[in-house]
């Protein structure tokens, strides 16, 4: 370690910890009368937001919450949730944003594993909790969130009251304490194809640094005015999903208008877009597609709507369809473990003058790593690969806001951080201009002949055969090559194709240099159906297990 000079502060200097309460200083100062809107229901100002956060802190404290406790929230995207983003960590407690899309068993698992003390639950999720409350081992009480004038009755015991009623009773000043910036502020769970959900967690310091960097990034690019003082922000990524990508913190810090859409209903989302002239949203491709499929979108002016797409890859088709409606589409990349900011589309003045097709090619890629993010693609030995747009490697990252392990599972955390870099589990290429492109999940990539072959790339090529309806490719162990690709193919009814036909089809891509010759599968099963997971993705783990 270098012997640098460190001077202790004078005894009375204020050693400023990076706490979430500090993100609340500037927004209300810049724009005290700016609006925060709840769907088609209600709205209030930034000044109100501050008061409500203080009241919520008093209400939580009155309900017995102490620093170090964990408070779970089950809600749609609401200003209430935004208040929880601030008040719960600001009193030193931990906000557990419960994934309401998990199965009841998984919800119980995560709430027990996180050791939730108090639960804030929307009416719509009370039946779920009534069903499983006997299995919740640490929960001491509930607060009901309701969108009706009075809370529904519930069989849950230990209900402390209804959110708005508790806020109305609470004092409007809370003296938020200073504490260690490395205190845990939030936690939530990430699911894989196997095993229990894993808990990630983020500290005050991490969330402040994520917010500061995101604010600089989202407003800075002249061609991409995602989040600026005049913006109107509406999240269309659930707030339980990686803090809605952290944007509610950034938007609040800067005092921009925010619209929280409640439960996602495509027609309502489009109506809110129109009514509030929303300029910035972020979402997964599926939600965008649902919005594009509505009737009301046909009469919307979308030319000022900038949308960051993440969660899974935006197809060129979706990008083209959205762009033709005037929407400005960009890609963001990150995951639960990364808070999530890692990379974002970065367009230059020249890029935005390109013809649409060339722009689409830029916009669907995974973007350039954000400021402060150190990002590489590495081979199985951790060696960085060239940035030539061809060489593939696992995407690994360092940044000041990455989970420092998995909750109570140190061995999984150490696997995540192998070699001191966070392993994303994604395989990508980096173009000479720095643009990252995700090609596959590393567990699905086929390591053959010393090369990494993307199962997705090979599926795309096989799909181009006119007789193929669907296909899935996995790697199977091979003594000579390490692994070889094995394809499942569903043929279009009435069409026919043989192993040789498919191989011949693929030979053209070998000839053109797109793939190596060992990428051509020797083993192809023609099947009736491809196994899928519960969310409709190809279940490659099951295919590999069945082929083993």
């Amino acid at each position: 370690m270098a012997q640098t000079k460190i001077i202790p502060p004078v005894s009375n200097a204020y050693n400023y910890p990076l706490l979430i309460k500090r993100l609340l200083l500037s927004g209300p100062r810049y724009a005290p009368d700016q609006k925060i809107v709840y769907a088609d229901r209600s709205e209030y100002t930034y000044s109100d937001l501050v008061t409500r956060i203080h009241r919520l802190a008093n209400a939580l404290t009155a309900a017995g919450v102490q620093a170090g406790d964990t408070v779970a929230v089950l809600d749609w995207d609401t200003p209430r949730y935004l208040e929880c983003f601030f008040a719960i960590p600001m009193i030193g407690a931990i906000l557990h944003t419960v994934n309401i899309r998990l199965s009841p068993d998984q919800v119980v698992y995560t709430m027990n594993h996180a050791e939730d003390d108090l639960v804030l639950v929307h009416d719509d999720f009370v039946p779920l909790l009534e069903q499983v409350s006997g299995n919740l081992e640490t929960v001491k009480g509930y607060i009901q969130l309701t969108d009706n004038t009075s809370a529904k009755s519930t069989s849950l015991d230990t209900v402390k009251g209804e959110y708005e009623a508790l806020l109305a009773q609470a004092g409007d000043h809370f003296d938020f304490p200073d504490f260690d910036e490395n205190s845990v502020a939030t936690t939530f769970y990430t699911t894989g194809t196997t095993g229990n959900p894993k808990g990630v967690y983020f500290t005050h310091r991490q969330l402040v640094l994520h917010t500061l960097t995101q604010t600089g990034t989202l407003g800075f690019n002249e061609q991409m005015p995602l989040l600026r003082s005049n913006s109107v922000y509406m999240p269309v990524t659930p707030m339980f999903h990686v803090h809605a990508w952290g944007v509610p913190y950034a938007a609040t810090m800067m005092g921009v208008k925010q619209v929280y859409p409640g439960r996602y209903e495509p027609e309502l989302l489009v109506d809110l877009l129109k009514k509030h002239q929303v300029t910035f949203s972020h979402c997964v491709p599926t939600i965008l597609q649902m919005m594009l499929d509505t009737e009301s979108i046909k009469t919307a002016n979308l030319s000022n709507w900038h949308v960051l797409i993440g969660g899974s890859a935006m197809t060129e088709g979706l990008c083209r369809a959205g762009s033709k409606l005037g929407i400005h589409l960009y890609t963001g990349y990150g995951m639960s473990e990364t808070c999530p900011l890692l990379s974002t589309t970065y367009l230059t003045e020249e890029d935005v003058r390109l013809p649409l097709d060339e722009q689409i090619n830029k916009r669907v890629k995974t973007g350039i790593a954000n400021p402060m993010v150190d990002l590489e693609i590495v081979d199985a030995n951790g060696q960085p690969q060239p940035h030539d747009g061809v060489a593939k490697g696992e995407v690994v990252a360092r940044a000041p806001w990455l989970t420092q392990g998995y909750l109570k599972e140190p061995e999984k955390g150490e696997a995540l951080w192998e070699g001191g870099w966070l392993h994303t589990g994604d395989v990508g290429t980096i173009d000479p201009d720095g643009t990252l492109m995700i090609r596959d999940r590393i567990k699905d990539v086929i390591k053959t002949g010393g090369e990494w072959l993307s199962s997705l790339d090979l599926e795309n090529l096989i799909s181009q055969h006119p007789a193929v309806a669907a296909t899935a490719v996995v790697g199977v162990p091979d003594e000579k090559w390490g692994e070889r690709p094995h394809a499942l193919i569903v043929l279009i009814p009435g069409q026919d194709a043989s192993l040789e036909d498919i191989q011949e089809h693929l030979q053209q891509f070998v000839d053109s240099g797109e793939i190596n010759k060992w990428a051509i599968p020797q083993q192809i099963d023609f099947v009736d159906d491809i196994p899928k997971t519960s969310v409709g993705k190809i279940n490659k783990k099951l295919i590999r297990d069945e082929l083993a």
Copy 2:
């Protein structure tokens, strides 16, 4: 202290320290071919910048510099200086930005006090160092900075070589180490009217946080596109003066074009403005006035030039003159002790549609506190004063980037941080909309009848009397009132006025409620001249001493 939850990172997680080297990740990634220009002399790309920083690190190490050493720089505003902003702290050493405007004795004092080990000195300052080198107690060697093809000869011994020659010999990769983010990165000296200059110092963590916040702030406001991806940045505040307000770090992090003007020559500055279509600068009012006074400014298109004014107050006259030329003028507030970002003009959509006079009123005020900055005005007991635009208080601040003391003078550091807030020594008001306005220095403010009376305000009112050419007001002790104002007045030749005339003149402002009746001086000396300091400011300390 609240008992929050802190989870130790897993053993191999990378615990990301906030180091200046991390600010260098994104700019070259966004814009490797973007230009960094040196006046009318030369230019290079961001890729070159990275290579030159690595080479400089190798050259410094070869010259014997180690982590913890202090490296002094005496230079004009150059890309070399930008390289020093990065390379010196990145090897764990401390950059001492020497104030070349100090007297030779003061330069010697600061260099001995900072314990400078190596000195990088421009040809223009070699004579100064030749004159005093016998008195430099810690300096072990020099590197010459020259703008000519070969370095001038010098009588300084222990010259290690010329900067460009040393870089040419050095390897182009340096493995910059990680170390504690609280390591000191920079130091420089602030001067008062009495005593020796005082050393302030900033850590890697502080400079990174300042940069992240500044980037968000300067690009975010739709009405104030100060620093954005398409910007062309030219500092007109010396780089030895509070890191040129930290903007070189922010500009480099984001990959914008930078123009370094060398020694400030008004005609050259205007030529560079025109040639590079500079969009963003910052400077003190005097330099702007000098540029406005040039011949060549008359043919410049200044409608895209955004200028942040600081250091001393921008007068309404200067703001009007600049605005009429199309320049977008804003005020920034901070000081050596504060890194310096504290507050900046903040204009809304409505503000920029106001008539010019009303805009000027907004633009000359000291602005709204920046994100992460906790700022108050307090009375002598540290009690916050109302934000009503009338109540005066000393401006105190907390932010993550304030000097944590004065170098080797803990008692002065403790006075700076009295009560855990950094005391700026400025007296201001805060408007109901949050806008700060600096009214006086606290040592010049007159504490009379339980009120704080701004000596500047009173001088302004007295100046409005038609016979008054110049005036200075100081507080003198008074048994009944605490202090009472005492005025010196220089009359316009051929004009006459008595004590009573002046009092009668001031009575109208008492009648209109602008000042209290005890603000009217009972003691007025009609004098031939007002004592001034060496930089032309009214020397109120001397006046008070002479009246005592």
